[in-house]
Every structure is written in C-alpha cells, then in structure tokens.
Symmetry: C2
Subunit: 373 residues, 2 copies
DNA sequence: TTGAAAGCGATACCAT
DNA sequence: ATGGTATCGCTTTCAA
C-alpha cells in the first residue's frame, strides 16, 4: 500500500497559488509564470516532496507517453533466444531517449487465457498506451487486424507497427529485414560449394515468416535449376527442441547441407547433428541464423545475421513519429540482413558479406564468393 | 491519434441504466445486478464495442495493477547476456498469470540524463505502478533507499523488491541466490584439482555483487589455507569486453586457473585466452558463470548456474503478495545456485552438483567430487 | 436492485 | 500574470 502523498492541491495551497499555476510551472508551459511565483511553487514542491501522479496526468492529457511491445507467442519462446533481447534493447533505448514508458505484454497460450486476437486487440483499445509494436503475430490475426484497419473503426485502435513481413500494399506499418535476399544468398552459397541436396528447417507456418522463409529457399533453388525434395523442407515449432527434432528427421534423408531458419532452430539442429555422432562441416554443412553466440560455438557458424537492435530501434522511432503525427500511415521499412561466413560450411572464411545494390543472384554471388576466396 | 471511442456513459445511455450499473456489471461486483439488466448492459457493450479506459480505471481505483522492472544499468549492458532475458521471463510470466501489466524501465547513464537515484525514485513515487522490482542498484543508491525506508515517508514509496545481496537485517525485500555457497564450491573444486594460483575476475565493485563475489572467493581460499595474490583478483566492468581485458592482465601473472564472476565476463575471458593462443583447459582452467550457451561453447564450461527464471518469478510473486497485502515487509528469500561440472577444468564430467544441506565446505566437496569421479 | 453524485489528480480553457 | 473550474472516464459511497 502506498501512503498519502502530496497532490497538486497541496502544492497550490502551500505556495498560495491555484492548481493551474502549479501545473504550468511543472510543465514549463503553455502559460508563462512570473519568476517569483515560479520560485514559490518550486519551493512548495520541494518541501512537500511532491511527485505528480502519472495516472492522473495521463488521463487529463489524453495521452500516456507510453508504448507497448506486444509479443504474440508465449514469453517462454520469446526470450529463449538472443533475438528478442536485442530487439527489446533497440526499442527500450529509443523509448527512453524520447521520454516514453515501455510496457511489455506477452501472450501466454494457456487454455484459460483469452484468445490471442483479443489479447492484441485489448492493448490496442484500452488506451493504456499511445501505440504498440506487434511481434509474432499469427497470420490469421494479421488478417483480422487488417480488416479493422480497412473498416470504419480504424482510428479507435492505437497506431501500431508490425514486425511481420506483410505485403507492401497492406495497411500496416511495418519494419522487417530483407530475408528474401539473405536466404537466397545463403542458399546460393551452399550451391556454390557444391551442395545439391540441401535441407531446410523452417518455423511455425502459422506465422508469415514461417511460411515465407521456406518459400524464399525454394525460389532460390529453382532459380538455379535445382529440384527441391519435399521431404527436405520441414516446418517445426521454432525452438531449439524443434530444430533438433527437424534435424533428426532430415538426417534420415541425409542431405549434404542444412539451412535452419532462425537462431534457436540452428542451435537445436546443431545438437541433433552432434548426437547423431556427425560433425559439422565434415559430415554435413550447416547454415543458420545468428545469435550473439554464433562465433563462440563450435564450429563458428556461417549464418544470416538480422540486425535485431535496429529493427527494434526503427520500429520504436516510427511508432513515435506516428503517435506524434510526424508521419502518416502506412509506413513501411525494410532493413538489411547479411550473411556472415564462418566455418560451418567447410570454409575458413570469416568475412562479412553485405547485400549491396547490384547483388542480384547467382552471378553476384559468384563474384562475391570469388572475392572472398 | 486515437479516435473517439465509446465511454461508460455511452454504454449506460444505450442500456438505459446508470454508469454505476455498467461499472458493476463489468467488474462483476461489488454490487450484484439483476440478470435482465446485466444482459442489456452487456449487449450495449457489444454493440458499441466498448473497451474501458484503463487509465481512468487506474485513477479511480487508486491502483494500477501494474508493476515495473527497474534496471539501474544501461539497457545495453542489461540485455547483453542471457541472464536478464531469463529474469524478465520469470517476471513476465508471473505478472501475466496474476493479471498485472509490466513496465520496463532501464536507466541510460548518458550525461544529460537524470541522476540514477532520481530515476529509481521517480518510478517508486509517480504512482504509475503498484510496485517495482529493482535490479543492478549501485550500493550508494541502496543506501539512499534504505534511508527512506527507515524514515517517516517510507510509505510514500511503492513497495519494491531488490535483486541485490543486501544484508539480512536491512529493511529491503530481497530475492537473491546463495552465491557464497557456489563460489566457494567452485573455488574448492579448483583447489581439489590441484590449482593453487587461481585468478578471479570480478565485476564493478560499485555494486554489492561486484564487491561480495571476490570476497567469497578470498574467503574460500583462506579457509583452505591458501594465500591470495592481490594481483590475481581484478575488478572490471562486468561485460564481455571487461572480461577480456581482465584476462589479458591476469595472463601476465599466469595463474593456472581463473574464475570469472558472471556470464559475460566468462565469455570475454574465454576469447582473451584464445587470442593469447592458449587452450582451455590444457593451458589454463576456467570456471565461469553460466548462460544458456555454456554447453555449446568450446570447451563446454564448468560454471555456476544461477536460476534466473526463478529469481524473476519469486521476485514478482513476492512483490504482488506485498502489493495485495498478503505478506509484510521486509521479506527475504535466497534461492539455490549450483555448480555444473563440464570440461573447462580438465575433467570430462558433465553432472549437476547440487548444494544440499550437509554440504559445508571442503569435506563435502571431497566426498561429492569423489562421487563424481 | 438501482441512480445520483462525489471523488481520483491532473490539464487546459475561460475569465479577470 | 493568475484564478476558477470544466473535464478526462472511471470507481464507489450514499440515498432511495
């Protein structure tokens, strides 16, 4: 229980002014206050150890100066890898710089819980924040959100930025990375090293990224005139356990290389390979997604690096710009990812391979790879 | 900008009742409402797509159903390791289960920012949350907080739980782990393996844990009758960079083993050893603190494991109990840590070594170690 | 069983 | 330059 503390009335009384004056002094405007009065008010504030009630302030001001991060998967999943920590870091530094509070809403998909759509929807409508960043939104929920955005009650929803790879012509504000490019590059890298039977471990396809990443992979293979064996493309729960399970299945078919579509899947795949008594890259090549550990594990992993910090930072910046009316919806942004070559594909390279303009396919890869060799 | 949405008045009008009735229906009490009336209200809610304004509700109810996590070091540091992700996971699942919102406050120590004490103090006084969990509090700030807790304005501060190893007779609510025990065990483990010149890398001594961990180490050495060379005990910024720097310094003195006092320090120490062209454990033994990666890196690390998830969970549970008046301050809790034996000390063990009652020092270690061999 | 109205603690408009 | 007061959207007491 919090005890009684001074209110704006107490301060006003002690300083012998009205509460309006106190408010103006404390907010530095919009009205200007005589210096002498100002000092009396500030002294009263000091003596009473007055701290404005943020809730009252939010109600009166009709804005909260807070944003929410809403993650649609259970927190257990969300925090299991370094990706979301970095994302959160980018978001939290940005909100701090701009004077916004940050609330964290994670959805637990236990039986007794609300439907996940209600979960998103509540945060977007209860006015506890000025806007939100939505991550890990199932495609079905994106569809429902889109329907609202295209309907008449659109602006009863707080503005929000999604971190899912929604279409360019959708009504969402969006921040993503160019995984189409880097997944293609990684695939071409494997092909160039001589691999033809390549396995792909994708995440949960109820999410857009779960369905798009394998598609990007297939596309790259097809582009090079290589067939894709359906049994070599698997989708599992995007966790370490999922990655291990998927790899066990793949090992039966014995591809010469495997590509895992996120950081935790990669770790899981690696441990399954080890448990099967195989070695990377001698027995099987592995390309993954990169967490901060990629260079510490054995062997150092060739992996796609997602600039999670920047994704978070930009999402927050865009959201705040939206909230404060500096930009208008829908706003789309795509950041660059990169493939970092280490040792898990049988090469001893450790260089960064950036996707600059002009890199468009096998041809580009060949020259880049040549440059690295 | 959020558009106009229905308020409780709109609902009341449409249902032909007073706002009080609407409120009681929505909150399921404390007053009971006739079933027929209830249904009319719920229908109006449905038709108007009414969502209560959380800010107004908080102001009127004089409680926010929200708690804050306040971390006293810059977010960059905080999220650089897996420790705080897990901590946050434990906290967020607990708040979700109990219907509390979670806000995340991270202090950025840039020149223009508030003093860090003001930062803590503001959150504890602005009534935006019902309580807070404080981590990474500098000892100087703990002292100032303690002064308030022991003074007359104590209950103008929201209740809070600290994650620092404050004394048992201090007025704080506290959740920590028994690092005195596990640091001792790790030290004894090294001694038992024959090491005598052991280095210790501690973190920033402006934090209690930065000063206590080296002290626990020294104590364990002394207990075994071993001298501690002062140059072998160093304190650095508790990051990966700090760990590397410390290890470089230590390598000049060439201890046969090194103990690093947190997860990031451990990684940094490891990379410095590598860069010096040395190998673990052949050239130098390493004991560290354990992140989720400890088993994936090479060699798998013998390390102290802190149950970060449980620390977070218990801190949140205790805080909520405090807020809801089920327990009274000060409340202290100490969770168990454990030493996990892997390969970085020159053994091929990979067993868990729990600190159960009866384990009290070298004698216990000897029998346990014997059991493991 | 329900309504009217008094807060909650601020912001900001309308006066003077 | 300042005071008075309506208002924000709820919860809850007091009456009926």
């Amino acid at each position: 229980m919090i005890g009684l503390s001074a209110t704006i009335h107490d301060v006003a009384q002690r300083a012998g002014v009205s509460i309006a004056t106190v408010s103006y002094v404390l907010n530095g405007g919009p009205r200007t206050v005589r210096e002498e009065t100002r000092r009396r008010v500030l002294q009263a504030v000091e003596e009473l150890e007055y701290h404005p009630n943020l809730t009252a302030r939010r109600l009166a001001a009709r804005k909260t100066k807070a944003i929410a991060v809403i993650l649609g998967l259970s927190a257990t999943y969300v925090f299991s890898g370094p990706y979301f920590s970095e994302l959160l870091l980018g978001i939290s530094e940005t909100t701090a710089i701009n004077g916004y509070a940050l609330t964290l809403e994670t959805y637990r998909s236990r039986p007794k819980d609300r439907q996940s759509f209600e979960f998103f929807h509540r945060v977007l409508t209860d006015r506890s924040v000025d806007g939100a960043i939505l991550g890990l939104v199932e495609t079905a929920n994106l569809t429902r959100l889109q329907a609202i955005l295209e309907g008449p009650t659109r602006d009863r929803l707080a503005p929000f930025v999604v971190l899912e790879p929604v279409a360019d012509d959708s009504p969402f504000n969006r921040v993503v990375t160019d995984l189409e490019v880097s997944i293609r590059a990684a695939t071409l890298h494997l092909i160039r090293l001589g691999h033809r039977r390549i396995g792909f471990i994708g995440g949960d396809p109820t999410y857009l990224s779960g369905s798009l990443r394998p598609a990007y992979f297939r596309q790259a293979m097809t582009e090079c005139g290589l067939p894709v064996e359906d049994e070599l493309v698997v989708n599992v729960h995007g966790t370490q356990a999922g990655g291990a399970e998927a790899m066990q299945r793949l090992l039966i078919k014995r591809p010469t290389a495997v590509f895992a579509a996120n950081d935790m899947l990669t770790l899981g795949a690696l441990s399954a390979i080890r448990e099967a008594g195989l070695r990377v890259p001698d027995d099987i090549a592995l390309v993954g997604f990169d967490g901060r550990y990629a260079e510490h594990i054995q062997p150092p992993l060739t992996a796609v690096h997602i600039p999670a910090y920047d994704v978070g930072r930009r999402a927050a910046e865009i959201l705040i710009d939206l909230v404060e009316g500096r930009i208008t919806q829908p706003w789309k942004e795509t950041l660059r990812s990169e493939l970092i070559l280490r040792e898990s594909c049988g090469r001893l390279l450790n260089r960064t391979f950036s996707f600059v303009e002009g890199f468009t396919g096998l041809h580009g890869t060949e020259s880049s790879a040549a440059r690295l060799a």
